[in-house]
């Protein structure tokens, strides 16, 4: 046994930092899924009839669909009838300002490092906090309103901006898109909505913090971002959940629409509870459909994700490049430590002329973790002079983990220029000893090497979060060298 093993043993003891639960009165509906449950969710949210009809139709479609089995993820069947589809902190009364938010909740977010009191907030970041199924509060609303930016919970948007919702809901990810998107469409509870008017550069970072708290509930949020002509927005989401022995389902849908000359930058720092590091018990099942359409010419959609949590991750943020000269980007760091499994990647669909896409994927596998990159690049017939650059790198820490790469390429226009690079490396004993010999501890050496490996992706994150991502990576990697 080496001293490295001891360091690792010690680090394994370290618990998931965000694993606490909040003791708060909650309103939960009984587990199970049927049309009455959907009607109940819809009525709790006071929804218009058209939205209920839309949900019910999605449910009918879901019933006819099969769970996808093409991923490399290995897990036992999800029992959809054992999940509760709605949980909300019981409101004492209708909230009109932050002062009225339950202090327990404010405290929860504080513990997560996200103070919601505006004077204590990160300057220049507006936050929407989603607790279990509902949005708790959105900060900096007035400041944003001055610029005509709408940033609110999805439920509020349904009430206050029904025409925009009606126009765009399901326009990028149709209800029939896939099994989990259909389920989300039927039962989604809340989420965030962003609207940036023409010619507006959103004056601050927008961000949503998702927190699963209640036991036995699923979280099904929906996010919709619409950027009108020549507008610009940068949006970030973060996610955490308590430690629980049973697996919890998270099935979200995110739709982005970028009009002519608009740009949307969407960043994710996903740190759902990954399950018990020793037994693999518990953890979030993260099945997410994220897609953006570059509708207008010269528009740009950029996805950046740092995926360190969840027991399972199934997620392929994608871009449909319709407008001429539109640009799609995907920057990803996915870590699977201990028993975690990640199957993630992107799809870039080139339709317009001179469209360009970039894919940078960094997979890190440690412990018994399994990490799969799955990416598709499709160049349609009309996409004259399309270009794609893909780079998929994997790094392995230890002997029991695995990395897999599945790039799918479909080119229907001969003018396309495609470049693909891939590499797999292992953090070797020789590298660690070299660092040790210079007085650098094994843990510091691993995080130094991994951070170097991820640098290209971290550089894409908004500054406020790049440091956070780096720290998160260090915590998630603790105990990974044996």
């Amino acid at each position: 046994m080496s001293k490295n093993t001891q360091i690792i043993d010690k680090a394994i003891e370290k618990e998931y930092e965000y694993g606490f639960t909040t003791d708060i009165e909650q309103e939960t509906i009984a587990p199970g899924l049927n049309k009455d449950v959907i009607r109940l969710i819809s009525s709790k949210k006071d929804e218009p009839q058209w939205l209920l009809d839309w949900r019910l139709k999605a449910y009918d479609q879901w019933l006819k669909m099969d769970e996808p089995d093409w991923s490399k993820l290995n897990f036992s069947q999800i029992d959809f009838q054992s999940i509760s589809y709605y949980a909300a902190p019981k409101p004492k009364k209708k909230l009109s300002s932050l002062d009225e938010v339950d202090p327990e909740l404010l405290d929860t977010y504080k513990k997560l490092g996200i103070p919601l009191e505006e004077q204590k907030m990160l300057a220049n970041v507006a936050v929407d906090a989603v607790f279990d199924s509902v949005s708790v509060t959105t900060t900096f609303k007035e400041e944003l309103q001055k610029h005509g930016v709408i940033f609110c919970s999805f439920s509020e948007a349904v009430k206050n901006h029904p025409n925009i919702i009606k126009k765009y809901l399901g326009s990028v990810v149709p209800t029939t898109d896939n099994y989990f998107a259909a389920l989300n469409s039927a039962v989604f509870s809340d989420g965030s909505f962003v609207y940036i008017p023409k010619n507006v550069r959103c004056p601050m970072e927008l961000s949503t913090y998702f927190r699963i708290n209640a036991a036995n509930t699923g979280q099904f949020e929906r996010t919709l971002i619409v950027a009108e002509e020549q507008s610009h927005v940068s949006y970030l989401e973060g996610c955490t959940a308590p430690m629980r022995d049973e697996n919890q389902l998270h099935a979200a849908v995110v739709e982005l629409v970028a009009h002519k000359d608009a740009e949307i930058k969407y960043s994710t720092v996903q740190n759902w509870y990954p399950g018990n590091p020793k037994t693999g018990k518990g953890g979030i099942y993260n099945f997410v459909t994220k897609r953006g359409t570059c509708v207008g010419d010269n528009s740009k959609i950029s996805w950046t994700q740092v995926e360190t949590g969840s027991a399972l991750t199934w997620k392929y943020p994608s871009c449909i490049l319709k407008g001429d000269n539109s640009v799609g980007e995907f920057y990803s760091v996915a870590l699977s430590n201990n028993f975690q499994q990640a199957d993630t990647g992107t799809k870039m669909i080139h339709i317009g002329k001179n469209t360009k896409s970039t894919i940078i994927s960094k997979g890190i596998s440690a412990g018994k973790g399994q990490n799969t990159y799955r990416g598709g690049v499709k160049i349609m017939k009309a996409a004259e002079n399309a270009r794609n650059y893909s780079q998929c790198d994997s790094i392995l820490i230890g002997e029991e983990c695995g990395a897999h790469t599945f790039p799918y390429i479909d080119v229907r226009n001969p003018s396309a220029q495609m470049e693909h690079e891939a590499s797999t490396s292992r953090i070797g004993e020789d590298q660690l000893f070299y660092c040790n010999q210079r007085g650098i501890s094994t843990e510091d050496a691993v995080s130094m090497i991994v951070n170097g490996f991820c640098k290209e992706v971290f550089n894409e994150l908004p500054m406020e979060f790049a440091v956070e991502a780096q720290k998160l990576m260090e915590v998630s990697l603790e105990g990974s060298v044996g």
Binding site: S2, K3, N4, S425, G428, E429, D430, Q431, F433, Y434, C435, N436, Q437, R438, G439, I440, S441, T442, D444, M448, I449, N451, G452, F453, K455
Partner: protein, 246 residues
């Protein structure tokens, strides 16, 4: 400073060092010569604490303390440095960042104030001159895309920056052209003082001509079979090793 007594050690159950004795005092430079496979790198790895090498008997003391139970990083922090025979590439990790992390780790260990990026740049630029290295190597990843000679210079740069008490130079001269050899030897010579000790492992007399060791030892089959001064190196150059074999 370094005191090795009756050291028996090996790897994978195979005994490589078979009763080695060696004492290096402060201010001395010792050279170890020997054929390929005679156990020179093994000795260096054991002094620095590399995993998987087993010591079956004997002692290794550094400044009076038994170091065999110490972790490699603690041995490094206590002042033992090795210039690797085959320096390791660490992709993605910036050379300057790496070297500053190493220095700060040492400063922290000695309860001294860590250096900030600006002060470190000033310091490292001075050291670069000593090994005639271009600044561009600072912005590259550690040893990534370095030629053999550049890697060796980078090792010496690290030595000059970390200022160890004991420096083990494992075939630092192999693969160097005459200019690089001269630069490296000069770097080492200027670094010598009455408190620092050196163990230079080499095949060639030419390094020793530059460094003028105090003692030369011949390692054959895991044992030091002969020790002497500069004249021994000359003898080896002329006669080879076979006359020393039993």
């Amino acid at each position: 400073m370094l005191e090795i007594k009756n050291l028996h050690a090996g790897i994978d159950g195979k005994e490589i060092l078979k009763g080695l004795d060696l004492t290096i005092k402060a201010g001395e430079l010792h050279a170890i010569m020997g054929r390929n496979g005679s156990g020179k790198s093994t000795l260096a790895n054991i002094i620095t604490g590399r995993e998987n090498y087993e010591v079956t008997s004997g002692t290794v003391k550094f400044n009076g303390n038994n170091i065999l139970d110490m972790s490699p990083e603690n041995r490094a922090l206590e002042g033992i440095f090795m210039s690797f025979q085959y320096p390791v590439v660490i992709p993605g990790v910036n050379n300057t960042y790496f070297l500053r992390a190493a220095l700060n780790s040492k400063l922290k260990h000695n309860e001294l104030k860590e250096v900030n990026a600006a002060d470190f740049m000033r310091l490292i630029r001075e050291k670069l001159k000593l090994v005639e290295m271009d600044e561009k190597y600072l912005s590259r990843a550690v040893n990534d895309g370095f030629s053999g000679g550049e890697k060796k210079k980078n090792e010496i740069l690290q030595m000059l920056t970390l200022e160890p008490q004991l420096s083990i130079l494992d075939e630092t001269d192999s693969g160097l052209d005459i200019d690089a050899l001269r630069i490296i030897a000069q770097g080492v010579n200027n670094f010598r003082n009455s408190e620092r000790s050196f163990l230079a492992i080499t095949h060639y007399q030419r390094l020793l001509d530059h460094m003028k060791p105090d003692f030369i030892h011949v390692l054959i089959d895991g044992k030091i079979v002969k020790s002497g001064g500069m004249s021994l190196a000359q003898e080896l150059e002329e006669k080879g090793y076979s006359w020393l074999e039993a």
